[in-house]
Assembly symmetry: C2
Homo-oligomer: 524 residues x 2
Amino acid sequence: MSETLGSVLARAARQHARAEAVVDGETRWSYAELDARVQAFDAALDELGLEQGDVVAVLAQNSAEHLVTWLAIPRSGRVLNDLNYRLAPAELEFILGDSGAKALVVDDGFLEVGQRLASTVDGIEHLIHAGAGPTPDGCSSFEALSTSGAARALESLDPDALAGIFYTGGTTGLPKGAMLSHRNLIQNAKHMLIALGYDESDTYIHAAPMFHLADGASLFGITWVGGKHVTQRAFTPASWLALVESERATRGMLVPTMVAMVLEEPSLAERDISSLRSVMYGASPMPTALLARAMQSIPCDWYQGYGMTEAAPLVSMLTAREHRAGIAGAGQVADRLRSSGRPIVGVEVEVRGPDGAPCAEGEPGEIYVRGANVMRGYWNRPAETAQALVDDGWYRTGDAAWMDADGYLYIVDRIKDMIISGGENVYSTEVENAIYRHEAVLECAVFGIPHPRLGEQVHAAVVTRAGAAVDADDLVEHCRGLIAGYKLPRSIEFLDALPKSGAGKILKRDLRAPFWQGHERQVS
Amino acid sequence: MSETLGSVLARAARQHARAEAVVDGETRWSYAELDARVQAFDAALDELGLEQGDVVAVLAQNSAEHLVTWLAIPRSGRVLNDLNYRLAPAELEFILGDSGAKALVVDDGFLEVGQRLASTVDGIEHLIHAGAGPTPDGCSSFEALSTSGAARALESLDPDALAGIFYTGGTTGLPKGAMLSHRNLIQNAKHMLIALGYDESDTYIHAAPMFHLADGASLFGITWVGGKHVTQRAFTPASWLALVESERATRGMLVPTMVAMVLEEPSLAERDISSLRSVMYGASPMPTALLARAMQSIPCDWYQGYGMTEAAPLVSMLTAREHRAGIAGAGQVADRLRSSGRPIVGVEVEVRGPDGAPCAEGEPGEIYVRGANVMRGYWNRPAETAQALVDDGWYRTGDAAWMDADGYLYIVDRIKDMIISGGENVYSTEVENAIYRHEAVLECAVFGIPHPRLGEQVHAAVVTRAGAAVDADDLVEHCRGLIAGYKLPRSIEFLDALPKSGAGKILKRDLRAPFWQGHERQVS
């Protein structure tokens, strides 16, 4: 049972009963209170007739109640299906149908969507309202269910039992549900604790949406050591800074877009953020110029994490020490800032060629990952599972990278995002890094569009910084000094904003689609 | 495979190839060199005809070669049986027969014993000599086997495959072999990394014998992060201090007896030991007075670990922060120095009464432990295994303790060492703590001896500090102010030294035996 998630909160409740567990606006619960609510909600799921293996979905912003769902749903063998609330109703409908959820927890903001979903998706038997308003007809009250005071003893579970189904961003095709077991999430929590050293004196801000594992990754680790959770309902840079100051937060996780927003926020200079010990960023690469500004303006330990839902999620880490050395140094040490660090303790990584054989140092190939954190497979997708999990437990990530002599992993692209132009492989991140080094650029995305002779041509979508301007020719000139001629963008479009996924990843799929209508693009 | 031990060295060799891995006198190997030797020795075991599941025993002082055996023997599925070299030949013979070892690795100091064992124990087919001298007839040369240069690819293993059989001190009865799997040792290594925060800048001194898991516990953790091992062949306090100074060692593990010896060592004042970040002590409780002196004279982070071979071994930890607070504070915070800290992340602990039901706060009972670190059972001992592993994976430790409201574990005794005197339970450690607070006392052991009326009477064996003296009456008077009357020693014997196990534990069994000849003592 030590490899089941119920033991995580049990330890905190036993050792830190009186310590604050979660802060959500005016709400402050100790670990004893959190544990009581989790046990009560777990017992309530029994009462509702939900059994081991039954799926309970959640559609909600970050909140104390949202934290309760993560701790309570898997506790006795039920399965969490936390939904990306940025998806369209049709997508949510697809996922709920696919996961076979029997209950859905919604907060006030998603009540209407939830009611529609409950009526259109066949299997949903219970709609649970976790909101401040009155409980609508046809709903159960989350507050009532989680404050009944019922105790629920922990039972023994198979460590390989399913704890959650996490639908992957799916930048191509239909969303797939990555099946994560108790062991997967427990091992990732241990890996996070080893890599980041969370302890009971830590206060962690949930700023990125909890439905995404980039944030969820810290949820169990922080709970295990008895640290404090602070939940932010909807991220704004101003409120994030205010929350760091008022709660003396020590730890945070931001995606690069959020970092950029905090750096542009005028109140940054006025807020006391000296309590911050570390900020981790991840989910997408961060341009070096942005990183340098971040390390200067938000002084703390900076960590970069690379991972994916299928790995529960952490795979590699660029440590605070490596960040400091990279910013202060030159040559190879500075280059490492462009890497995603090294495979963490507990996770094996290999870079392999198309034939499955390991690549030599410096040679790009596909990242394969193995570890007790790697998912059991995709829910009801035996074919995709067989394609993703190969050779005795290796997971094929679909990411292209090379590894240097010291084990640093340089991610060059999604295999599917690699541009093949005139027979040359062009890694879009390399082009993006060059473009980002122009001071007028706020964000960019590089991808291939059809070209009659080259097959694909390098195309860039660019958002400029407020008040700054640059034209396409100047931007190409700027890049010419940095990358080879065949990698230069042949076309550039300027946009007001880039489309993003729930996790803040730029959706190249959406940018790419209009160019390929009527064309056939070959992807491996 | 990430849950197999081969992945531990593989990571270090990939990420820290040029870093120093081990220092043993004049010997200095990088991780690339260590990995080459481990692979070569692993391949050599194939050549010798040893297969997955075959047991390879080791009888040797700490050394670079000893480290190779730990990393190489389990690497491809063979089973390590590291022997306590302080045992008598008859005991070693028993263990080797019991484990069914097919090969035995010995160093120069144990060559003769090894040769005798190889001739008397049936199953031993190979005697491997890991020494500086010439290879004797009938032996293979460890140096030749481990420098052949043969590469050996890692193969996939079941994480639950046996990695080692570790014979427990057995303060009662015959030694039993605790079966530890790859998963057990891997999980303990993660727990050590979480609890102690080892990283690549650490240099760890192996001072306690490597055959004991109190030292072995750090072996995989330090390797995993690419830290440096320094091996000390035979512990003396002077050479330990010299090694800390010359190698700028950062981490150490000492049993309390060794701490006491270091504190008495005259060169302590002259040595520069400022490189030390932490010293962990364990394997037996440490009197508070000794601890206070240690923290003053050896300034670094002090950790207490509580565990046992069957838990691979770490169960609970009193952290450096708790040590500092305890020494500086009073009341409950100071009392915690007498505790064994709190269950670590990854290990569940319950204190249960004789009926198996959990005890209330403060009520003593038996410590039960559960986690992915807990052994698979005792080798070829189904009855003892069934007694030790109960209720879905809980391990009954045989240690008596109570837990306070914050989860601190106060170990009161071995269940078997509890003295029942006139119907009252007397926990020997409580009496020992009182005796230790007398400044003339270097070491003591308290146990029950036959008494016609009381059943047992409290008896103390005491060793006084060099140059100090105290008589029995004064010592009893000293205790009278500290503990209840029925707990006072009714008899005291003064000895020159106390008998110890290989791990430095005082052998009460040997002290107790002469008193009980012709008597029958009831143990639960």
